[in-house]
Amino acid sequence: MDWVNAIVQGTLLGGLYALFAAGLSLIFGVMRLVNIAHGDLIVLAAYLGLTTSVALGLHPLAALLVVIPAMAGIGYVLQRGVLNQTLGDDILPPLLVTFGLSVIIQNALLEGYTADPQKMDAGALETASFGFGGLTLGVLPVLTFAVAVAVIAGLQWMFYRTPLGRAFRATSDNQDIAQLMGLNKAHVFGLAMALSLAVVAVAGIFLGIRTSFDPSIGGGRLIFGFEAVIIGGLGNLWGTLVGGVILGVAQTVGAKIDPGWQLLAGHLVFLLILAVRPNGLFPRVDA
């Protein structure tokens, strides 16, 4: 039963990783941008959530109402003001610029909030649990997983059923021809980054309720997000959820064998899958 428990808890943890990954997957899919600052933006969202909930006396989940639009706005401005200028045939400039952005965000957070670990106070939600078939499940992990599924389903629906999703796919296929259809790619990319950071806002708040955080942890969240995206297959949103779950399960099972193995087990499974299936488990089939 302990092993079943580890697998179930790992699956739920995978929901959080899928939230880390979904925004990365989205912008890579639309504009082939690898956002090195993604993890630090998650941490920024957590701090924004902390400040909002403390200042307004809100529950951290209620702070989402403020943090989601704020992060989306930051995303749009960031894309149009900075990142669009780096996009082109060369993939190096966006990597360098987002790396620099990562350093800037980390240091700004250090200045603003110090290096002390912080935590959001979500009250009873943090410790609430319920029994399920002999297992004890935390309400928060289950909620996180459910939100991850809802976010991915929502993104999937947006991508394949709405005019905005059509614009994203067309721009991803061929930027010049999309522009001929009257799509301003600078604006389309801005919207994609806004959406990506809206998901980052959700990821940041759930991270901040689940564990304590400090300005330095962004890099680790970026790695987990990357691994989930790569395991699932680039550009496949449901694959990203599966990737997050595989990573989460590998970590909890690894920790079960030996607590020191938690992170290592996740990375090993990632490397193994990369070696066997370099394109991930469910690569997008391009014509």
């Binding site: 059509r166 614009a167 796919r169 067309a170 061929n174 021809i177 999309a178 001929l180 014509a287």
Partner: protein, 235 residues
């Protein structure tokens, strides 16, 4: 003599250090079908890309309805009513047939063209509307590319080598559909390798050679010899 809907003056175009167009002058009259012929590399596609906003031009080098549009972005030019059917069709592979058509209509311009109108023109597309655009035959893909441009209800439509790589019978079908398309008060520019086809559907023709206009005239007034000379540059 009408006012031209499109006027091009002293247009240069570059790909890096390579110059593709040299001081080109050209105009399209409202409601006419203009053909542009010339050998490979003469600058025909570059000319259409310049008009559509995919090349960097000076504002005054391209004027549309009297407005300088040379420096506008392609999406702004599309909103003004210029649509391009690009060489090689260039459909969006991630989009279904119907989605390709719908994205063509996103400029929201009013006019006779809608999904229904395109399906009337090319009934086969309605049967295939849910399929991936890449699963269609070349001719059907060309119909989608034409339909996608029409969905924008353009006033000026640019066709780049619409017969390239298609079977002769398909080319005949597509050209048979042209009068129904351009008859609606639209102006058209047709870039075509097949000179006979180009002359038969157009009222005027320009021949390009190495980035310059080598011949211009009414399609029914030019002799074969004139065209050969302008086409190949044989004196």
């Amino acid at each position: 003599m009408h006012d031209p809907i499109l006027g091009i003056r002293d247009l240069d175009a570059f790909y890096g250090d390579f110059q593709a167009l040299y001081g080109l002058d050209l105009h399209v009259d409202a409601g006419e079908v203009l053909a542009i012929i010339g050998a490979n590399g003469a600058g025909k596609t570059t000319l259409l890309r310049s008009i559509a906003g995919l090349m960097k031009n000076g504002a005054e080098q391209v004027r549309y309805r009297g407005q300088p549009i040379g420096a506008l972005r392609a999406d702004q030019i599309a909103a003004l009513g210029i649509a391009l059917v690009p060489e090689g069709r260039q459909l969006f592979p991630s989009l279904s047939v119907e989605e390709n058509l719908m994205i063509g209509g996103r400029t929201g311009r009013k006019g006779p063209w809608s999904l229904d109108a395109v399906y009337n023109l090319f009934p086969i597309l309605e049967e295939r509307k849910a399929q991936a655009s890449t699963s269609l035959s070349g001719g059907q893909q060309q119909m989608v590319a034409i339909g996608r441009a029409l969905m924008a209800n353009p006033d000026l439509i640019l066709f780049d080598e619409i017969s390239l790589g298609l079977a002769p019978i398909i080319i005949k079908d597509i050209y048979a559909a042209l009068p129904g398309i351009v008859g609606e008060g639209m102006s058209a520019v047709i870039v075509e390798q097949d000179i006979t086809k180009a002359l038969s559907v157009s009222s005027r023709v320009y021949c390009l050679q190495e980035g310059r206009v080598s011949l211009e005239g009414a399609s029914d007034a030019l002799s074969r010899e004139d065209i050969s000379r302008a086409y190949f540059g044989i004196a």
